[in-house]
Amino acid sequence: MNALFTLAAIVAVISTTMVVTRTVAVHALLYLVVSLLAVATVFFTLGAAFAAALEVIIYAGAIMILFVFVVMMLNLDRDDADRENTWLTPRVWAGPALLSAVLAGELLYAGIAGHGTIVAAREVGPVQVGLALFGPYLLAVELASLLLLAGLISAYHLGRDSGRGG
C-alpha cells in the first residue's frame, strides 16, 4: 500500500510541475487531470475510496472538461504559446519555486522524522461520508448548497443572451 501511495504522490508532484511549465494550454490541462487522478489514487490508498471517486467524477470528469471546452473555444494558436514562453522567466518562477521547496522540505522532514505517520487509519466508505455530512456537518452542507444555488442563478443571469451586444 505504501509503495502505491508513494508512486501516486510522485506522479502527482511531477504532473503538477508539468502543469505549470507547459505553454500549450490543453497540455497543461491534461497534466492537471493526471495530477487529479494521482491525488484520487492517493485518497484511495488512504482508504477514502468515496472521496477518490468523487475527485475523479467532479474534478477530472466535469470541471476540467469545462476548462478544456473553454480552451477549445478560445482558438489559441502558436503566437499564444510563444507569448506563454516569454512569460516563464526565472524571475517569475523563482519565488514560488523557492517557497514550494521550503514546504516540500518541511513535508519530507515530517515524513522522515515520523511526526505525521502515513497510515490507512480506517476505510471511509460512502455510508460514513453520508452520515458525517448529514450529521455533524449538516449546517455546512446546507450553507454550501445555498452558495451553489446562488452561483447557479448568477451564472444563468450572466450567461443570458443579453451579452450579445457587448
Binding site: 487531470v33 475510496a49 468515496f50 471517486a53 467524477i57 472538461i65 477549445m72 460512502p126
Partner: protein, 320 residues
C-alpha cells in the same frame, strides 16, 4: 484470491470484452441489414461472421497517418484514453456472483461513473487535437452533451442505490432477488437508458459524429487503427452500458433454470439489440433540442424519482 488468478481473470475478461465489441460490429450490421430489407455483410466466413476480423486486419494494415497540422501527442492519446476508460469501466461489472474483477468494490457505481466521465476526454481531445473545424465542432458538441448527460446518468442511479443500500454492484444484483429494479425504478431505468445512449454517442444522440452535419465529427481526421480504437471503444461502450442496465435494472445474472452466465449474457444481448433497433429507427435531434430535453425533461424526472424513492423508503422501511 491470488494475484495470479486475478490477473488471469482480468486478461480473460478483457479478451472477452474486446472480441464481443468486435463481434458486435458484425451483429449490428447484420441486424440493420435485416431491418432495412438488405443483406448486410455475409461474405467473409459463415454468414459473414469473420467480417470483424477482416475489418480489423484492414484497419491494422492501413497507413498510420497523423495529420501534420494535428497536435501529435494528444492526437495519439485521445483514442487510447477512450479505449482505456471503457475497458476499466468493465472492472466493476459482476458477470456472476463470483466472476468480476472488482464487483465488490464498495464504490462500484461511482467507479463506473468516474470512468464514463473520463471517457469524455477521448472525444473532446480527439476533436481538439485534429485541428479540423468539423472535428472541433464535434468535440464541443461532445463536451456539452456528455457532461450534461453524466449528471442525469448519476442521478438516475440514485434510486437504485437507495433501494439496495449500497454502491456495490454485486450487492445491487443481490437486492433484486425478489423483484428486478426495472419495476420500482422504471423512471430511473428510462433516464439511465437515454443517458447511456448519449454517453456512448450513438444514434439518435450521435451529435459529436453527426455524419450528415459534420462529416465524421470528432474523428474526421482519424484513420487506421486509431480510428479502429474509437470504433471499438464505441461498441465496447455499448456493451458496457448494456451490462450496467442488466446489472442495475434487470437483475444481473439472476434467473431460473439456466446458469447465471447465460442469463447475464442473454439480458445484455437483448439490451444491445434494443440499442441497435433505436439506431435503425430514429432520426437525430438537433443539438439544442438534445440539451433542452436533458435539462428540462430528464433532470426534473431524475430529481422526482430520487425524491419519490426516498419518501417511499422512509414510509415503508421497517427501521424508519
Amino acid at each position: 484470491m491470488t494475484l495470479g488468478f486475478g490477473i488471469l481473470e482480468i486478461v480473460v475478461s478483457l479478451a472477452a470484452m474486446l472480441s464481443a465489441a468486435a463481434g458486435l460490429t458484425w451483429v449490428e450490421r447484420r441486424l440493420l441489414g435485416f431491418w432495412q430489407d438488405r443483406a448486410g455483410p455475409n461474405r467473409v466466413g459463415p454468414f459473414g461472421t469473420l467480417q470483424a476480423v477482416a475489418d480489423g486486419v484492414k484497419l491494422l494494415f492501413k497507413q498510420d497517418w497523423i495529420p501534420p497540422f494535428a497536435d501529435r501527442g494528444v492526437f495519439i492519446l485521445a483514442p487510447a484514453a477512450g479505449m482505456a476508460t471503457v475497458l476499466l469501466g468493465f472492472a466493476v461489472i459482476p458477470v456472476t456472483a463470483g466472476w468480476s474483477v472488482a464487483g465488490h468494490l464498495n464504490v462500484g457505481i461511482l467507479f463506473f461513473l468516474a470512468m464514463t466521465s473520463l471517457g469524455v476526454y477521448s472525444v473532446v481531445l480527439g476533436g481538439w487535437a485534429s485541428n479540423n473545424k468539423f472535428a472541433l465542432l464535434g468535440g464541443m458538441r461532445a463536451a456539452a452533451q456528455m457532461v450534461s448527460y453524466e449528471v442525469f446518468m448519476g442521478l438516475s442511479l440514485l434510486g437504485t442505490v437507495m433501494l439496495a443500500h449500497s454502491f456495490s454492484l454485486v450487492d445491487i444484483v443481490m437486492a433484486q432477488g425478489r423483484m428486478w429494479f426495472i419495476v420500482p425504478q422504471f423512471l430511473g431505468f428510462v433516464t439511465f437508458l437515454l443517458a447511456g445512449i448519449a454517453e456512448t454517442h450513438r444514434l439518435p444522440f450521435d451529435l459529436p459524429e453527426g455524419e450528415n452535419e459534420l462529416g465524421a465529427g470528432f474523428h474526421t481526421e482519424y484513420s487506421g487503427m486509431k480510428f479502429g480504437m474509437f470504433f471499438i471503444a464505441e461498441y465496447a461502450g455499448i456493451v458496457l452500458i448494456a451490462s450496467m442496465i442488466t446489472t442495475l435494472f434487470l437483475g444481473g445474472w439472476l434467473g431460473p433454470v439456466l446458469p447465471p452466465v447465460v442469463w447475464f449474457l442473454l439480458k445484455t444481448g437483448l439490451t444491445i439489440c434494443f440499442f441497435i433497433l433505436l439506431r435503425a429507427a430514429l432520426p437525430r435531434p438537433r443539438y439544442d433540442q438534445l440539451m433542452m430535453f436533458g435539462w428540462k425533461v430528464l433532470l426534473p424526472v431524475c430529481l422526482l424519482n430520487v425524491a419519490v424513492t426516498g419518501a417511499a423508503i422512509l414510509l415503508f422501511s421497517p427501521t424508519g
